[in-house]
Symmetry: C3
Subunit: 346 residues, 3 copies
C-alpha cells in the first residue's frame, strides 16, 4: 500500500513543505525509519534526530523551523503527536481489513453463510451451520466449529480454533493460536481412584469489542456459557476456565489464570501471572497486582491487592518491608530474650 | 441430532407426561433452556423455574405434581439428577464420536494405516508409518508426525501437533492446540558463552484414558520417554518438560509447570500455576496448592503443601497469619527494646 | 534411515567387535534400547545392563572386557560418552534437515522466494513478498505472513505462526505452535471506561541461532522491533511483550513472562514461571530464580535473585528460614511482653 504525501497531508489538514510528489508506505519513529516511512517530531528534545532520519516525511509543529538542512518532506500541523496517532489508527484499520475474498483450498460446511467483504484464507475451515457477519477476516489455519456465530468486523488471526456453538460479537479481534470453547476441566473422582469426565456441553460467548491474545484458552461452560463481556481485553497465554464471567472493559494481562465459575466485575485490571481460585466474585474496578493469588471474593469496589494469597496493596508493602528484615528481627528477639534472662537471673 | 422424547424416556426408564411427540436436540439448565432442550428439576428450591423455562421437556421426580399450569413435557423418574447425568454422558459420547470419514483435502503419508470409523478432518496431516486405531477422531489442522502410534477411540481436537514417534493409548482426549513431543529444553553451555543444543531424540508416551488440555505442551525425553500414565488428566497451558513421569490418575490444573526429569506419583492433585523444579520426586496422593513452588522431593504420601517454596499447608496457614501482622510485630519489638533500655538505664 | 555399523565405527574412529554386518536405525540408553538401536556404556556401575540390553550395538571403552557372553556388536573407542554425543548430534542434524521439497496442497503468495533444499509441508502457508533462505524447513500448518524474511537453515515446526514483516535469522529453531509477531497489548483508557487499541505496527526480529519453544508468544513492537538477540534460547509457553529486548545467549525457562519494553542483558538465566514488569532493565549474567517477580531494574551484573518481589538469593534464603518460624517468633514476643509486664508491675 502506497499513499501520496498530499493525501496524508489532506487527512491531517497539514501543510506540505518540500517534495510533495513522494509516496509513503509505512510509519516509524525518526530513529528507526527507512525510505518510504513517515515519522513525527513532537518533543523538541529529539530535534537532532530529524537531521539524521531516513524517513521520507516527518510531521512537525506548524512553527517548526529546521536549524539546518533537512532531507525529508515536512507536514506542518498543530499537534504532531495527535496527527501521527490518527495516521497510525487509519493505517492500522486499513491494513487489518485489507484482505478480502477466498483463497483456495479452504473448507466450508453445508448450511454456513458469510457476509460481504469476508476473507477466508487458504486452509481455513468452517464447519456446518455457521453464521459469519460482514467484513470478517478469517486467516489461514483458522477452525470454526459447527453452529458458531460471528458478528461483523471480527478478525480471527491464523490458527485460531473456535469450538462448536461459540458466539462471537462484532469488532472482536482474536489473535493467533487462541482456543475458544475447549472442554471445561471437570472430572468426578470414582471410588477406584480414577476420574470420570463430566460432559462439558455449554459454550463461550464473546460480546462486542473483545480482544483475545495469542495462545489464550477459554473453556466452554459445563451447561451454560462462559462469558466475556463487551470491551474486555485479554492478553496472551491466559487461561479462562468453564463458567467464568469477565465483566465489561476488564483488562487481563498475560499468563493470568481464572478458575471455574469465578465472576469478575467490570473495569477491573488483572496484571500478569495472576491466579484466581474457583467460585470467587471480584467487584468492579478491582486491581490485582502481578503474580497475586486470589483465594476468596473481593467484594469492595476499587480494591487494590497484591501477594499470594493477596492482601490490600498498602498492607502488602508494609509487610514486605518487615519481611526483608526478618533475620534482623529474629536477632533482636534473641537479644531481648537474653536481656530479660539477665534481669530475671539477677 | 434430534431425539424423540419417547426414546429418551426409554433410556431413563421414565414415564412421559404431556406431549409425547416432541423431539429434543440439546440439554440445558431450566434457566438457560431454549426450545428443543431437555432440562431437569431435582432440588424443590428451584421449582419456580419450571413454570418459566423455555425447555421443551423436563426430567422430574416420580412424585412431582406441578402447582400450576406447565408447558414442557415431563419425564418422571426416580432420581432426576442422576437421570440427567446419564443423558449428558450419552449425549456427550454421541456428539464426540459423531464425525466419521475423510474430508478433503487431507494428507496421509506412505505406510500409514487407520482403523474403522476414523474421522480425518480437512487439512489434517498424517506423516509416514503412522498407526491409528479404530474410532479415532482427527480434527482439521491436526499434525501427526512420522512413526506415531494412536490407540482406539482417541480424539485429537483441531490444531493438535504430535511430533514423530509419540505413542498415544486408547480413549485419550487431546484438546485443541496441544503440542505433544516437542524438543526438550536442553542446551550445554560452551566456553564462549553460547549454548549448544543437546539432541532430544526420545519421545512421549500417553497411556490409556489420558486427557490433555488446550495449548498444553509435553516435551519429548532426551533419549527415553516422557510418560503420562493411565487416567492422568492435564488441564490447559501446562508445561511438561523432558523425561517427566506423571503417575496414574494424577490431576494437574491449568498453567502448572513441571521441570525436567521430575517424577510425580499417582492420584496426586496439582492446583493451578504450580511450579515444580527438575529432578524432584513427588509421592502418591500428594496435593499441591495453587501457585506453590516445589524445590525438593516430597517423599510422604498424602502430604498437602502450599507456598513458594512450599511447606506443609497447616504450617503455611499458621505462618501466613503472622506474616500479615509483621509491621505490628516489629512495633512490639521496638517497644520491648525501649522497655528493656529503660530498665537497663534505670 | 539405516546406517551400517561399519559407517558408524568409521565416524567414531572405533573398532568393531562382533557382527559387523548389522544396520542401526536409532539411538537409546542400554535400558530402553530395542533391536536396531545403538547405545553406550561409559560408567562401569551400569555394566550389568549390557548383558540384558536389546540394543544391536554398544559403544564401549577400548579396554572393556565383557565378564560374560554378550549379544550386541561392540564398538570400542577411547571415550564412549563423547562418541555417543557425537553420534547423537550427527543423527539429530540429519533427522532435522531430512525433509526436502514441496508437499501439496501448500500455498505461496506472489513475490515470495525460497532457497535451495527448502521443505514446504502440506497446508503450509507463505504470504506475499516473503524471502526464505536455503535449507529452511517449513512444516505443515505453518503460516508465514507477508513481507517476512527468514535466513538459512531455520526450522519452523508444525503450526508456527509468523505475522507480517517479522525477521528471522539463520539456524533458528521455532517449535510447534509458537506465535511470532502478534499485536502488543496496548490499549488507551477512554473517559467512558472503554479501551481504544493503540495500533501495533512494529515487528519482531530474531537474530541467528535463536530457539523458541512450543506455544511461546512474542508480540511485535508498537513501532520499532521486539528483538531476540543471537543465541538466546526460549523454552515453551513464554510470553514476550512488545518492545522487549532479550540479550545474546540469554536462556529463559518455561512459562516465564516479560512485560513491555523491558530489556534483558546477555547471558542471563531466567528460571521457570518468572515474571518481569514492564520498562525494567536487567544487567548481563543475571540469574532469576523460579517464580520470582521482578518489579524494578537489576543493574548489577551477575546478580542472583529470588522471591516475589525478588531480593538477592542469599537474603531470600536467610529471610525464608525465619519466615517458616514466624508463629514461634510471635510466641517469643508474647512471652517477652509478659516478662516485661511482670517487671513493670513489680
Amino acid at each position: 500500500m502506497k499513499f501520496p504525501i498530499q493525501q496524508i497531508a489532506g487527512l491531517l489538514q497539514g501543510e506540505v513543505v518540500g517534495d510533495d510528489t513522494i509516496v509513503i508506505d509505512n510509519l516509524s519513529t525518526l530513529e528507526n525509519a527507512k525510505k518510504g516511512c513517515i515519522s513525527f517530531l513532537s518533543n523538541p528534545k529529539y530535534e537532532n534526530f530529524i537531521y539524521q532520519t531516513k524517513a521520507s516525511a516527518v510531521i512537525v509543529k506548524s512553527d517548526f523551523m529546521p536549524a539546518r538542512e533537512i532531507k525529508p518532506t515536512l507536514i506542518r500541523v498543530k499537534d504532531p503527536y495527535l496527527a501521527f496517532s490518527i495516521l497510525l489508527e487509519e493505517y492500522d484499520k486499513m491494513m487489518s481489513y485489507l484482505k478480502v475474498g477466498i483463497e483456495e483450498p479452504s473448507f466450508i460446511g453445508k448450511g454456513s453463510v458469510t457476509g460481504e467483504e469476508v476473507y477466508r484464507g487458504a486452509f481455513s475451515y468452517i464447519g456446518e451451520n455457521v453464521k459469519i457477519g460482514k467484513n470478517v477476516k478469517i486467516y489461514p489455519h483458522v477452525y470454526v466449529g459447527d453452529g458458531v456465530k460471528i458478528g461483523d468486523n471480527t478478525i480471527l488471526n491464523p490458527g485460531v480454533k473456535i469450538y462448536s456453538n461459540v458466539q462471537i460479537g462484532n469488532n472482536c479481534h482474536i489473535h493467533a493460536g487462541a482456543i475458544i470453547g475447549s472442554d471445561g476441566f471437570g472430572f468426578a473422582p470414582q471410588k477406584d481412584g480414577t476420574y470420570k469426565k463430566i460432559p462439558q456441553l455449554g459454550n463461550v460467548i464473546l460480546e462486542d469489542n473483545v480482544d483475545i491474545g495469542a495462545n489464550t484458552v477459554l473453556d466452554c461452560a459445563t451447561l451454560e456459557s462462559t462469558i466475556i463481556k463487551a470491551g474486555a481485553k485479554l492478553d496472551n497465554l491466559i487461561q479462562i476456565a468453564h463458567n467464568v464471567v469477565i465483566g465489561e472493559n476488564t483488562v487481563i494481562a498475560g499468563q493470568a489464570g481464572i478458575s471455574g465459575s469465578t465472576k469478575i466485575g467490570k473495569n477491573c485490571v488483572l496484571a500478569g501471572q495472576v491466579g484466581i481460585a474457583g467460585h470467587v466474585d471480584i467487584a468492579d474496578k478491582v486491581t490485582i497486582g502481578a503474580q497475586a493469588g486470589i483465594t476468596k471474593s473481593i467484594p469492595t469496589e476499587g480494591q487494590i491487592v497484591l501477594g499470594s494469597p493477596a492482601i490490600p496493596v498498602g498492607d502488602f508493602r508494609r509487610v514486605f518491608i518487615v519481611f526483608k528484615k526478618l533475620p534482623e528481627l529474629q536477632e533482636k528477639i534473641l537479644k531481648l530474650e537474653e536481656s530479660v534472662r539477665n534481669f530475671q537471673e539477677g
